[in-house]
């Protein structure tokens, strides 16, 4: 294990310990939570709706062309892709987009505070950097990533419906056939999005706090944040998916 990895893991343990510790809630900390909610949630909605909207269309196009080629009937596509959207593409791509937007944003902000010694100034003023900079985003992401996933799934659903109607002349009623969607799909989506919400701020915040070495260091930290948190999303997706498949 390289020295850098050791430092990173040490920092992550420190962040987790601080986050689990008792902390005071006052007006200022509530304000920080609200602004984190705004940053993680409101400011990401547009981005996620757009990207997942594209995904819905793309899936419908793929499914439609394939179905037309193999079975000659694209009416069956809707019910087939709906469960896939709900349990897989919705939460995962929403998670990847949160890792991209919120994760890099956090790492960039915290990392630049480290190299400009603002984090030292926080510590000197008796404010814990973890509680001040990471905990609010962590709470916000736990709440917001599931909600964003729902928004994303909805966007994909409607864009897919529109594509089905315009390109394949499938009636919305035929497309929106929920018979293949089970409760387990919703459970899978929920577990995935909550765990993504938990790991992304943790990894991104740790990357930010581990920054060293000026502007280049901030760039490195931000890059690490997006790579590591996206990777975490993909790996978690694999294992949670495998787990739930075992339950079927």
């Amino acid at each position: 294990m390289s020295a850098q990895t050791r430092v990173f893991l040490g920092n992550m343990a420190f962040v987790i310990k601080k986050m689990m510790g008792r902390k005071k809630t006052d007006r200022a900390s509530r304000l920080r939570f609200w602004s984190a909610l705004n940053d993680v949630g409101i400011n990401s909605v547009f981005f996620i709706v757009i990207t997942l909207g594209f995904v819905g269309t793309i899936m419908m196009l793929h499914g439609g062309y394939q179905a037309a080629r193999i079975i000659g009937d694209s009416n069956l596509v809707g019910p087939q892709i709906l469960p896939l959207m709900i349990r897989q593409l919705g939460p995962t791509l929403a998670g990847l987009m949160v890792a991209t937007r919120v994760g890099t944003g956090m790492a960039a902000r915290i990392g630049s505070m480290v190299v400009t010694e603002q984090v030292d100034a926080l510590r000197l003023s008796n404010a814990c950097p973890v509680n001040y900079l990471i905990t609010p985003s962590w709470h916000a992401a736990l709440v917001m990533v599931p909600i964003l996933s729902i928004f994303g799934i909805t966007a994909a659903f409607f864009s897919g419906m529109l594509t089905a109607y315009v390109v394949f002349e499938t009636a919305p009623g035929v497309y929106a056939d929920w018979s293949f969607v089970s409760g387990l799909d919703a459970v899978e989506a929920l577990i995935k999005s909550i765990s993504f919400g938990a790991v992304i701020p943790l990894i991104a915040g740790t990357c930010g706090l581990s920054t060293h070495g000026g502007s280049a260091g901030v760039g490195r930290a931000t890059t690490n944040a997006v790579v590591l948190s996206s990777l975490a999303v993909i790996i978690l997706d694999f294992f949670i998916g495998a787990l739930i498949l075992g339950l079927r």
């Binding site: 793929h62 394939q66 890099t104 000026g214 502007s215 760039g219 931000t222 990777l231 498949l245 075992g246």
Partner: protein
């Protein structure tokens, strides 16, 4: 992103493309730097692409299997898998990771050079940063992204076969036959076209955001953030276009 800043960045992007096209047509890209970038981009992203590909293969196999188990259609796993991975999920996930690894790194590197005035240093040495730095990077990203998706396909296939065998007990041979029976070369080709375009979008967007950095270390972080967000938008946008145009 406000409307004004969108128009401005689109305008900058077009100017950048124009300048790059003139540079490329005049043969003014720095050859040495291009080779170096090809090597760096390849080396930098190979591990992450392989890991992503294996897991993307696994994820696809799991999701396809969930359908297959319901219909008891075990001989369709390979088809569903190959189609999803080669055409869609492979290029998409590898593209997103490539944007995180190489695009973000690139925006950070150019941004750091901007705020530490290294770009100005190039200019006062009478060297055009666009031909020296930006052109070679974009060329390297287009070439390498395409190459890496080819490599990624192989590893995704391995990940998918393994997952299918372990989790739903599909024999690798059955998997392979249904894959080769139904998946056409055009599906592979479609994925590679996407990969090349994604490489171009990531290269262009990350260079543009790197060059536009303002305001010291915080600016570099912000630029990386904007670069990966804009790259993701660009990737999905081109993904849609290719899917709609090349059925």
């Amino acid at each position: 992103m406000s409307w004004g800043s969108f128009v401005r960045s689109a305008d900058e992007m077009l100017t950048l493309i124009l300048a790059l096209v003139t540079g490329a047509l005049g043969g003014r890209f720095d050859a040495r730097e291009t080779w170096q970038q090809l090597y760096l981009v390849g080396v930098r992203s190979l591990p992450i692409v392989i890991v992503t590909a294996i897991f993307a293969g696994g994820i696809s196999a799991i999701q396809v299997s969930a359908h297959v188990v319901r219909f008891q259609a075990y001989d369709a796993v390979g088809w569903g898998f190959g189609f999803v991975v080669f055409r869609e999920l492979g290029p998409l996930l590898i593209g997103l990771m490539f944007s995180g690894r190489v695009g973000a790194f690139n925006a950070a590197e150019l941004g750091t050079m901007k705020v530490t005035e290294q770009l100005d240093a190039l200019r006062v040495l009478a060297i055009n940063p666009l031909n020296y730095l930006v052109g070679p990077r974009i060329v390297a990203m287009v070439v390498m992204m395409t190459a890496l998706v080819m490599v990624g396909n192989v590893f995704a296939l391995l990940g998918g076969m393994l997952t299918a065998q372990v989790l739903v007990d599909v024999d690798p041979m059955v998997f392979w036959i249904s894959l080769t029976d139904y998946v056409r070369p055009v599906d592979l080709f479609n994925g590679l076209v996407k990969a090349g375009l994604f490489g171009f979008v990531i290269g262009l967007v990350s260079c543009r955001h790197g060059l536009a950095v303002d305001g010291g270390a915080p600016g570099v972080g912000r630029a990386v953030n904007q670069a990966v967000v804009a790259s993701a938008l660009g990737i999905f946008c081109f993904d849609y276009l290719v899917t709609a145009i090349l059925p």
